[in-house]
């Protein structure tokens, strides 16, 4: 019951944020020079043909009027029709959503699989060689641009060894698992260092806490202390770091989808921006905003479940 109330409150709080995001994006995309009708008709088109298309698409209306229409349609569950593809924008986004969601989830799982052991290893003895190696690798990974890492993985793993495909989404669960490994790893590489840093610092902090000394004095095994007491307490803040970073991860997928030729929401967004396909840009923005809100709420919930001190309000 407490959780249900928490969820409802969070979702209500999300509405103004999502609303704000749509306004900002709407204004940005309309203020940048560029004309969807020109893109559709090419440079051969007569000014009359361009004007006709403007009228047909409602682009001859004022900006507030266009935004009002967008909102009105949105309330009716309609995200508008893509100017470029002449199909419902919401449908196009949902069609491409699985690829992006897969990437996000896969990258998150990989991040946890890499970051948690690495942070524990580093924190197991502060200042030791293993700690320094983990920190050095973290800093290095943080400095590598995602698109470059992606290209290197394609070149040296996909092309040279052929272990993983260099592009595509694959088919079936195992197919996705195989095809999306390199892109997910690329995305994960960008946020692993952040999680490692946070988790390592928290682990060291918690390891010095009084209750750990007490546990040791009570004669608990080192293993039990680390997993049961230290990790559990150190994990909560790291989950927040991870949840916040999923927002950045969404941005990262835009670029990585291009490098690995994945037809996800990111590439749809870029196509949309390129063609000034306003409904597509707005639809993608809105849906991704919802995804990020969802992930953040989920992060809070998990945190509350792990750490009873966090109140669910």
């Amino acid at each position: 019951m407490v959780y249900a109330r928490f969820l409802v409150r969070r979702l209500l709080q999300a509405i103004p944020v999502v609303f704000g995001v749509t306004i900002v994006v709407f204004l940005l995309i309309h203020l940048v020079p560029g004309d969807p009708a020109r893109t559709a008709l090419g440079t051969h088109a007569t000014p009359q043909a361009v004007a006709q298309l403007h009228h047909l698409w409602g682009l001859d209306k004022s900006l507030p009027e266009q935004y009002w229409l967008f909102l009105k349609r949105l309330l009716g569950g309609d995200l508008g029709t893509s100017l470029r593809f002449q199909q419902p924008a919401g449908h196009l986004v949902l069609e491409r959503m699985p690829v992006t969601l897969w990437l996000l989830c896969y990258a998150t799982v990989l991040t946890c699989l890499i970051a948690v052991p690495a942070a524990l290893l580093a924190a197991s003895r502060q200042g030791a060689l293993r700690d320094r190696i983990v920190r050095l690798l973290s800093v290095t990974a943080l400095g590598i641009p995602g698109f470059w890492l992606g290209l290197m993985l394609i070149e040296y793993i996909a092309v040279e060894t052929g272990i993983f495909p260099s592009s595509g989404y694959g088919s079936g669960f195992l197919g996705h698992l195989e095809s999306l490994f390199l892109p997910s790893l690329t995305i994960a590489a960008g946020i692993v260092p952040l999680v490692v840093r946070s988790l390592r610092a928290e682990t060291l902090k918690v390891a010095d806490a009084d209750f750990v000394t007490t546990a040791r004095a009570k004669g608990l095994t080192e293993r039990r202390i680390r997993l049961r007491h230290v990790l559990r307490n150190a994990l909560a803040p790291s989950i927040t770091v991870l949840a916040v970073n999923v927002s950045f991860l969404v941005g990262g997928t835009l670029v990585i989808e291009q490098v690995f030729s994945l037809g996800g929401v990111g590439s749809l967004m870029l196509q949309g921006i390129d063609a000034r396909d306003f409904p597509i840009v707005q639809a993608v923005t809105l849906i991704l905003a919802l995804v990020v809100v969802g992930v953040n709420i989920f992060g809070d919930l998990v945190q509350a479940l792990i750490d009873p001190r966090v109140e669910v309000r």
Partner: protein
């Protein structure tokens, strides 16, 4: 695109909004060659002048029927409606499914295609087209004269291509295999216009559907038939089993994949995941040519790269300034550094391969001393030698060319900055005249110069707003209705002279089309348009 709540999250909201802002403002996009700076969709012509291999693979090897060809382009088509094609990607896809009445072969020679013959009345105002017999659409239904009449009436009304058919007054089906085209004025060479790949023959009334519905699953007479389109991923064609050319096509299936990143395209080709890739990076060509199992096809169909000077700007209204820019540019350097030696320096704006290309108009040799002198004189007359060059962003080639020109012009005494724009922005700043100078490309979808020559005045001298647009329009009208080939040739020579004289369109280089492919791909041809002809493409053993 994002959000977050509670204590930590507003940082994330701001960050993601900033990211969206950066992407939107930068208009960061897949990019790629296209109709960008004032160009037609397709591309130049193969032929006259230097011609290199036009077949893929090792040329000699025999292809066996069957197989699936996977080809990667840098984006996906915008539309599969042939009458609305306005970009090179749609053109690549549409030409696999649709065919016009006449077609230029890979050498640029016109031949009757879905037409068997065309007879002109003595006044060249009535044309009787006899249709090829036995042509069927990919759904098995025979092509009729009613289909042809409907198709030609539709292209006439196309907001994109209608301008090329202004002469046509009516198209009527007069018999089962005959169509009569009437023009308002004598048409010197109607075949030329009818060979436009987008003057495609479709079923009458789009087979009873709306134009949009038809474009969702189009039906044509081409060697391949639409099978499926996974947006953002791939477009698949099956062999048209009713194709009218016996034994063709060889391939069972063709898959157009969308691979926006040029490096990814190259890697996937080398990994064997792709058979053919469009526009590999020029800098990668030597490495690709060195790989024994790859083949690089350089097709002398040409694009004209040019620098348009906006004549609305007081700076460019000064003749000496335009002449100085023309002399300051190192065209040899552009060919060497940006095209890695492929391509040639450009003289006439109507590129080689087009009929009546004037070879006597040569690219001027770089003369910095003279450019400096001319500019100094112009400065004394009161001009401010500062300009900004707009260019399409995200393309290595265009960026290199812009940088070369920038350093050339700075050497001659100009102060130059670069303004990279995405295609949408470019397409709207050019017609609005909101630029100083712009790098653009020009290409033709037919061998006949009439496409570019009619396009020139219609776009106010390719958006340079030059004073010769009216003159070119008049000459073009005379050329299109010229009583003889000689007079037609003269008019096109005058058109080329007029543009050359004004120097508002500074021609830079003729750029060939490049495709890279696996060594076992054979019969891959790129003809007059940029479009690959896959009818005879196949795999060797």
């Amino acid at each position: 695109m994002k959000m977050g709540l509670g204590r930590f999250r507003f940082g994330a909201v701001a960050a993601v909004l900033a990211l969206v802002a950066a992407i939107v403002v930068a208009g960061c996009g897949g990019g790629g060659t296209s109709s960008g700076g004032g160009g037609a969709t397709g591309a130049g012509a193969n032929g006259a002048g230097s011609s290199e291999t036009v077949s893929g693979g090792e040329g000699e090897a025999q292809a066996k029927p069957g197989g699936t060809l996977t080809l990667a382009d840098f984006d996906e088509p915008i539309s599969l409606n042939p009458f609305m094609v306005a970009d090179i990607l749609s053109s690549h896809a549409v030409t696999q499914m649709f065919e016009p009445l006449f077609k230029a072969d890979v050498e640029g020679k016109l031949e009757p295609w879905l037409a068997e013959s065309m007879k002109a009345s003595p006044d060249r105002k009535t044309f009787t087209v006899t249709l090829r017999k036995g042509v069927k659409f990919s759904n098995g239904k025979p092509m009729t004269s009613a289909d042809v009449a409907f198709s030609l009436e539709t292209i006439r009304k196309s907001p994109v291509w209608g301008i090329m058919f202004e002469l046509v007054e009516s198209v009527k089906a007069t018999g089962p295999d005959t169509v009569v085209i009437k023009t308002s004025k004598p048409a010197a060479k109607l075949e030329g216009q009818l060979s436009l790949p987008f003057a495609a023959i479709v079923p009458k009334n789009f087979g009873g559907e709306s134009e949009e519905e038809f474009a969702a699953h189009p039906i044509g007479t081409g060697p391949f038939a639409y099978a499926s389109w996974k947006r953002g991923e791939s477009l698949t064609f099956d062999k048209n089993k009713y194709y009218w050319k016996p034994g063709l096509p060889l391939l069972e299936k063709v898959v157009f994949e969308m691979v926006p990143d040029v490096n990814s395209r190259d890697s996937q080709l080398r990994a064997g995941e792709l058979d053919v890739v469009a526009s590999p990076d020029w800098s990668q060509l030597p490495a690709m040519e060195a790989e024994p199992n790859l083949h690089v096809g350089i097709y002398k169909a040409s694009i004209l790269d040019s620098l348009g000077l906006n004549m609305k700007e007081p700076l460019f209204q000064n003749d000496k300034v335009r002449e100085a820019i023309n002399l300051a540019i190192d065209r040899e350097g552009i060919v060497k550094a940006a095209l890695f030696g492929h391509g040639e320096t450009a003289g006439s704006w109507l590129m080689p391969g087009l009929e009546f290309h004037d070879e006597t108009i040569k690219a001027p040799a770089q003369d910095v001393a003279k450019a400096k002198k001319l500019l100094a004189e112009a400065v004394k007359e009161g001009v401010e030698p500062t300009l900004q060059i707009s260019l399409l962003k995200g393309q290595t080639f265009t960026t290199t060319v812009a940088q070369i020109i920038q350093s050339n012009l700075v050497e001659a005494g100009f102060s130059v900055s670069l303004r990279p724009l995405d295609e949408s922005a470019m397409n709207s700043v050019l017609p609005a005249g909101k630029y100083d100078a712009a790098l653009g490309l020009l290409a033709s979808n037919i061998v006949d110069p009439s496409e570019l020559a009619s396009f020139y005045p219609a776009t106010e001298a390719l958006y340079t707003f030059g004073s010769n647009a009216t003159k070119v329009a008049k000459l073009e009208a005379e050329a299109v209705s010229a009583p003889s080939e000689k007079i037609r040739g003269q008019r096109y020579a005058e058109i080329q002279e007029a543009v050359e004289e004004e120097k508002a369109l500074v021609t830079l280089d003729y750029r060939p089309f490049v495709w890279a492919m696996q060594g076992n791909v054979t019969g891959f041809q790129v003809g007059v348009t940029s479009d690959p002809w896959l009818g005879e493409t196949g795999f060797t053993e």
